[in-house]
Amino acid sequence: MGYCPNTPDDIREMLAVIGAGSVEELFSSIPAGLRARSFDLPPGMSELELTRHMKEKAAACGADVVPFIGGGIYDHFIPAAVDHLASRAEFYTAYTPYQPECAQGTLQALYEYQSTICRLTGMEASNASLYDGGTAVAEAALMSLRITERHKVILDASVNPLHREIVTGYLHGLSAEAVQVEPKGCASDLDRLMASIDGETAAVIVQSPDFFGNVQDFRALAQKAHEHEALLIVSCYPIALGLVASPGEMGADIAVGEGQSLGNPVSFGGPYFGFIATRKRFIRNLPGRIVGETIDHQARRGFVLTLQAREQHIKRHKATSNICSNQSLCALRGLIFCAALGKKGFEELALLNYDKAQYAKSVLASVKGVDLLTGGATFNEFTLSLPRDASEVVQRILEKGVAAGVPLGRYYQGMEKALLVTVTEKRSKDEIDRLAVLLEEALWS
């Protein structure tokens, strides 16, 4: 039937050892009145039938749509080696490395991951990953409350709207406040953000590139925040970090983000991983697992889970977070992705995204009636204004197998004609040119 190996003979002999007359007898501690009233599931399938069934479902998943959509999740190239290595059974069928001597594989990989995140973000201490980008921003917000012992964060509304919803939900339960600062046009209102910071502010949370695609300079904001002993939390897009200044360079205290773009497929929403990194002085306030370097009695280097006194299995309700599992396997993919591209390749990849998006900008903005709403620096996303409701236009183009972008009306009042377009290295010039044609058609024919 399933995967239970014991044969009737085994079962008989085991019951004899136990001293029970039947398997059912082992459940006799469960009062009769508590037994399941229903368990109405269909009979099982064989592997062949299951595979067929699942392939049917997968055939209707839009995988052949050409995606100019991003908005936090990106269709990037994933080197074959990533899959091959992350598919090593010893990695993916292991548990949390609680017994370090038989988990040096996972532990060293997570240590290398933490090192990679530190180098990407320009920070000094990273944990071993969080659930996803949205919860990572929320954990950073909570972390700032713990560090500053304050109860308010300033939340730039140019931060990914999905992430903001998660942050407000997390803060709500703790009676902390998230003050949102609306964008000015299609960009962060840096002046209002600066003005909002006061002695009650635990942190300012911003994103670069922001949800409209703008690459931003937060140096002044950092300075202002630090003047008020508030923290600067920067959410960032790791691929962009191959080209744009890191949160560390900008003066951030905590860098967070969605790690998906590093070697994880889009996979209808997950699993991905969130990352969080900070200055070394805040390390004890990090949520989640952290791997540290140490030695054994022969002075051989080894790695262990460390600073566990922050965590729920030790500190229970006084833990820095309730998080238990991390996203090890996804983080491992991120690590291998970064190492596969390497110093030079990672920069080239970022530049390629930039070049393609700049090309797309020029081509699309020259479509009649279309304007660029993000006029400044962008990375691989930008926002267009269309002469009509973007939703209708997107729907029309989608019928041709191209997802033209994310209409912003759903996320920002009054932006019904704004369209967020994403262009990764996987989009060819031909695809970009075709999008321009389709856009023109959808608008004017």
Binding site: H84, Y95, P100, G242, G270, G292, T294, C338, Q395
Partner: protein
């Protein structure tokens, strides 16, 4: 082994980046650019592959070793589930959120809906959401739903959540994340939460009680219905930690027993390899009047049979970006579909049989604090071995030398020198016998040659590591 960074050679390349088919753009301004390239390792693809292949070989894992880690359900997960999990890799979640996109992703939407229905039937709940990304995340989401429920009723005085002292650490931590204060009730001598103390702790300021059943000792609490009734009488809700659901599939449904909210660890019970610590997935199920507070969005089946993504305006808001860890959900759906009703019942029966067999064979040598029929796991104490100066950790490390991953040790906290063994249903009697032999050998060695246990492990790339040094050094990334 060297770090990948230590294998880096300046100028060496790994995977080649695609060539550009567009013109070079005007560069970003200096102020916005990073000052130097990210110091990533510079290795060839061969170096990369050899490094991580060899690194993987420094792990124990289910596919290579018996891994009876109590409370973690390290069962075998069929390879076909990995393959079907990969089928949806190219499906962009934002497609479901743009106009016209829903119709293109009916496959994954129907799968989410189907899994929610399966889990509702399995747990006896009315509705399920797959959004939480892990067990602890499910707990927090569940408690937030409970908070929303009380609040909607104007019941604003409740500020406590009760947990037993044997609970998983995530329970109090999750309740605290949702803004509650924690009341911890001790374990009674009979192994369950002390019923009298619980009764005393329960009052109209309590929002919920969180329970694991079977509890972390692997015992089914016969008073569970009473505990629920006591809570409900006081207007509190009951939360079921589904970590141990593997023990009761088809036997007990928390919804039938009186629980209001449950989370399910898909990665424990429903076929996801643990990935070295994640990803997991922690859907929650709720009773009828709590459905409205579930997080947004919801995947619904419209009257015309088409699946749609709908906002859920009265809910607690969003807890994860999209629909949860979809890849994990695919595996769970495949697992439930492949095993079917009978297969799932067999899971709990064989899990319980295996644990009782383990218990029966080891209890002569190892102290069994609660000697009664267990469910899917059993908890011993190394207290007899301590008399010889041997601790649970020493037994654990000796097992490593003999090729077995150790059981969970020092948890639950209410048993001293705890050794918590969960064989799972996928292990054969023969594998358990081999493990039992080594456990008995360890007990013998504890009497005759404790030094051998103290020096273990000797077969691993490193011996016991200095954790204090690690915590002091705080060396968490390489320079």
């Amino acid at each position: 082994m060297e770090l990948i960074f230590e294998k880096s050679v300046s100028g060496r390349c790994g995977v080649r980046v695609p060539l550009s088919d567009v013109p070079k753009a005007t560069p970003l301004s200096e102020a916005l650019r990073r000052q130097e390239p990210v110091r990533l390792p510079e290795v060839s693809e061969l170096d990369l592959v050899r490094h991580y292949t060899n690194l993987s070989r420094r792990n124990f894992s289910v596919d290579t070793n018996f891994y009876p880690l109590g409370s973690c359900t390290m069962k075998y997960n069929s390879k076909v589930n990995e393959d079907v999990g990969a089928l949806f890799a190219g499906c962009h979640p934002v497609l479901a959120l743009i106009p016209g996109g829903e119709s293109l992703v009916q496959g994954p939407l129907s799968l989410i809906h189907g899994l929610e229905r399966q889990l509702a039937e399995i747990t006896g709940m009315d509705e399920v959401t797959t959004q939480p990304l892990a067990g602890a995340h499910g707990e927090m989401t569940g408690i937030m739903v409970i908070a929303a429920y009380h609040k909607a009723r104007g019941d604003n005085k409740r500020k406590y959540v009760i947990v037993p002292d044997s609970s998983h650490g995530t329970n109090p931590a999750s309740a605290a994340m949702a803004g509650y204060e924690i009341v911890t009730v001790p374990t009674a001598p009979y192994g369950d939460m002390d019923l009298d103390l619980y009764r005393k702790a329960m009052n109209e300021e309590v929002a919920a009680v969180m329970l694991t059943c079977p509890n972390t000792l692997g015992l089914f609490n016969p008073h569970i219905a009473e505990i629920c009734a006591i809570a409900h009488e006081a207007g509190a809700l009951t939360y079921y930690d589904g970590a141990n659901l593997n023990a009761i599939l088809g036997k007990v449904r928390p919804g039938d027993v009186g629980f209001d909210v449950i989370h399910v660890n898909l990665h424990k019970t429903f076929s996801t390899p643990h990935g070295g610590g994640g990803p997991g997935s922690g859907p929650i199920g709720v009773r009828g009047d709590l459905v409205r507070y579930l997080p947004t969005p919801r995947v619904v089946r419209r009257k015309d049979g088409v699946f749609a993504v709908e906002d859920h305006p009265e809910g607690i808001g969003r807890v994860s970006d999209f629909f949860g860890n979809f890849g994990i959900m695919v595996r769970a759906y495949a697992y439930i579909t492949m095993l079917g009703r009978e297969g799932l019942i067999e899971v709990s029966e064989q899990a319980v049989l295996n644990a009782n067999y383990m218990m029966a064979r080891l209890k002569e040598e190892y102290e069994l604090p609660f000697d009664q029929t267990c469910m899917h796991e059993c908890v011993f104490s190394a207290s007899r071995q301590v008399e010889h100066g041997v601790h649970a950790i020493d037994v654990a490390k000796y097992l490593v030398d003999r090729g077995f991953h150790p059981p969970t040790v020092y948890f639950p906290l209410n048993v001293k020198e705890a050794i918590m063994i969960e064989p799972t249903e996928t292990e054969s009697r023969q594998t358990m016998d081999a493990f039992i032999e080594v456990m008995l050998e360890a007990a013998r060695l504890a009497r005759e040659n404790p030094e051998r246990l103290h020096e273990a492990p000797v077969t691993t790339p490193v011996g016991r590591l200095d954790e204090t040094r690690a915590a002091k050094a705080q060396q968490v990334c390489c320079e």
